[in-house]
């Protein structure tokens, strides 16, 4: 089910490069790239085999770490041993500090994700529906992508203070664009025939959105959310590193200041776990909501 490469008629920009690879018929270029970036091409392997290879490679990394920390002659503030990190983890867990910081970061991520997604979907819907609106806002949207969020994070912290709000804002900004693009692509890709069907049944605007456009756009939208979820972890940490008094990013900073490298490791691992959990949550959502699609059957 592949078609020959064909030029993409763009979202936002009319002069897009042609897709260099074949993509399934009917799948817009942007969506294809996003999917290609986020789906595992080795899905053909049996899941059990894949799981074992993953575990094996993890174990190998762990053993290497253990060996290097034991025989590498590195001081603990450069590379703490796994058991040091583990005991630091229990300590941070026991005194409640780890949970507090994790809760703050998670709250920032979720709020930012929520705000960014809602805003992006609303704006994306308007862009998808109105060419005029697209022409009005497209220059700003494209230009906004040229601004590295990491670089303006200090500015946002200066303006909005070191509290949670500035981090939520950074998360929202970082999530905004991928979700917006995917909303536009998804809504534009709704088949005209189904619109005709709804109109022949005299469906109201709200019914068309709920019964047609949302479910039709959902696969692409969730793809955007999956990217956004991972990005928002980065957003929160960047914000906290720039200036904060709570959160895992703050924990990394303060532990580093005290040469408590084991605690830095603990914070980093917690962040990884957070990102994976978020990714997994979106993947679970996809599986649940998109059971009608062949690939999820």
């Amino acid at each position: 089910m592949s078609v020959a490469p064909e030029p993409c008629s763009g979202v936002f920009f009319d002069s897009q490069p042609a897709c260099p690879v074949s993509r399934p018929a009917g799948l817009p270029c942007e969506a294809f790239f996003l999917q290609a970036m986020t789906t595992n091409p080795t899905r053909k392997h049996s899941p059990l085999l894949t799981r074992w290879t993953a575990l094996l490679s993890l174990a190998a990394a762990f053993v290497t770490w253990e060996l290097v920390s034991r025989y590498g002659g590195l001081p603990a503030f450069i590379l703490p041993a796994p058991e040091q990190v583990a005991s630091r983890f229990w300590r941070a867990l026991a005194d409640g500090s780890l949970l507090t910081h994790t809760a703050v970061t998670l709250a920032e991520i979720l709020l930012g994700l929520l705000a960014g997604t809602v805003a992006a979907m609303a704006l994306g819907y308007a862009v998808a529906k109105s060419r005029l609106f697209e022409r009005l806002v497209a220059p700003y949207l494209v230009a906004s992508q040229a601004i590295p969020i990491v670089a303006i994070a200090p500015l946002l912290v200066i303006w909005f203070g070191p509290g949670m709000f500035s981090k939520v804002l950074i998360c929202a900004l970082i999530v905004f664009f991928p979700v917006l693009v995917n909303t536009v692509v998804g809504v534009r890709a709704v088949p005209r025939a189904l619109h005709d069907l709804m109109r022949s049944l005299r469906a109201t605007r709200g019914q068309i959105i709920r019964r047609l456009e949302v479910p039709a756009a959902l696969p692409v939208l969730l793809g955007g959310l999956r990217i956004g979820a991972t990005l928002s972890v980065i957003g929160a940490v960047v914000g906290e590193l720039v200036g904060a008094d709570k959160g895992l990013g703050f924990l990394v900073n303060s532990a580093r200041g005290q040469y408590d490298t084991a605690l830095v490791f603990v914070a980093v691992f917690t962040l990884i776990a957070l990102a994976l959990a978020l990714y997994g949550a979106v993947a679970w959502l996809e599986k649940k909501l998109l059971s009608w699609q062949e690939s999820h059957a």
């Binding site: 088949p191 005709d196 069907l197 022949s200 049944l201 019914q207 479910p215 039709a216 009608w292 062949e294």
Partner: protein, 246 residues
């Protein structure tokens, strides 16, 4: 004869294109009476689908007008290609019109189940559209067009992708539904036999731009059985239609 349900006057459609516009329909005028079964015949590209799309309110005519007696009617439409929502099961797709009308869940299910049986899809209620054959998908679309008890059925080659046996069963069923529920039907077809088996009247559109070339009354007795096609009168009517199309 009953009262007119639909009056069409001088309907013309020109699609914009690079050289001055493509004329798809050229001042078509006709009347459809309440509870009449009308078939629309014509060569490919003569504007049959376009005419149906206008009547369903999906397309604005360039000129002319059409009036439904009694205001905006409830429409049951079957498109030339089966248009199912891939994220809904067979039953979910069939229930859509009732859902839009705000009918209660239990009643929706009961009525959908009846129609599933009518179109012979028992056992496929929970199947996804991706697992259906073309003919099965089309039968789902037919069931969906019937479920909300529409005032007029607009059918665009609804049996095009069915095998001969199923098609003839659907003819009989459609005749039955039409008579039992006193529907008005406007149906596009390519098959003269189908038109003569089903219709009270056959309209023939000319080559593009389509204009009504023939308005033929089909005065064959009902109920019509399969062997009606071997009668002399059937042959005469078929010949008239054939000549008009060519």
């Amino acid at each position: 004869m009953t009262a007119p349900l639909l009056t069409v006057r001088d309907l013309s459609v020109t699609f914009p294109d690079s050289n001055g516009g493509l004329e798809a329909l050229d001042s078509a005028s006709f009347t459809i009476y309440s509870q009449e079964f009308v078939c629309l015949l014509g060569p490919s590209g003569s504007g049959k689908s376009t005419l149906l799309r206008i009547l369903a309110g999906l397309l604005q005519p360039t000129a002319g007008e059409f009036v439904f007696a009694g205001g905006q009617p409830k429409i049951g439409m079957v498109f030339q290609q089966a248009t199912l929502m891939p994220w809904q099961t067979v039953l979910g797709n069939i229930m859509l019109p009732l859902e839009l009308d705000g009918v209660r869940e239990e009643e929706r299910r009961a009525r959908a189940q009846e129609l599933v049986e009518l179109v012979g899809l028992q056992g496929f209620e929970e199947a996804w559209p991706r697992d259906l054959s073309g003919g099965m998908a089309q039968r789902v679309a037919i069931a969906r067009a019937l479920i909300h008890d529409p005032d007029i059925l607009l059918l665009d080659e609804p049996f095009g992708s069915l095998d001969a046996l199923t098609r003839e069963r659907m003819w009989t069923e459609l005749s039955r539904i039409w008579q039992a529920r006193q529907k008005t039907v406007l149906m596009v077809t390519h098959s003269i036999g189908e038109a003569l088996f089903l219709a009270d009247r056959v309209l023939v559109l000319s080559q593009r731009p389509g204009r009504i070339k023939l308005d033929l009354k089909v005065d064959l007795p009902r109920p019509r059985r399969d062997d009606i096609r071997y009668t002399a009168h059937f042959g005469r009517l078929a010949r008239k239609l054939k000549e008009a199309i060519e």
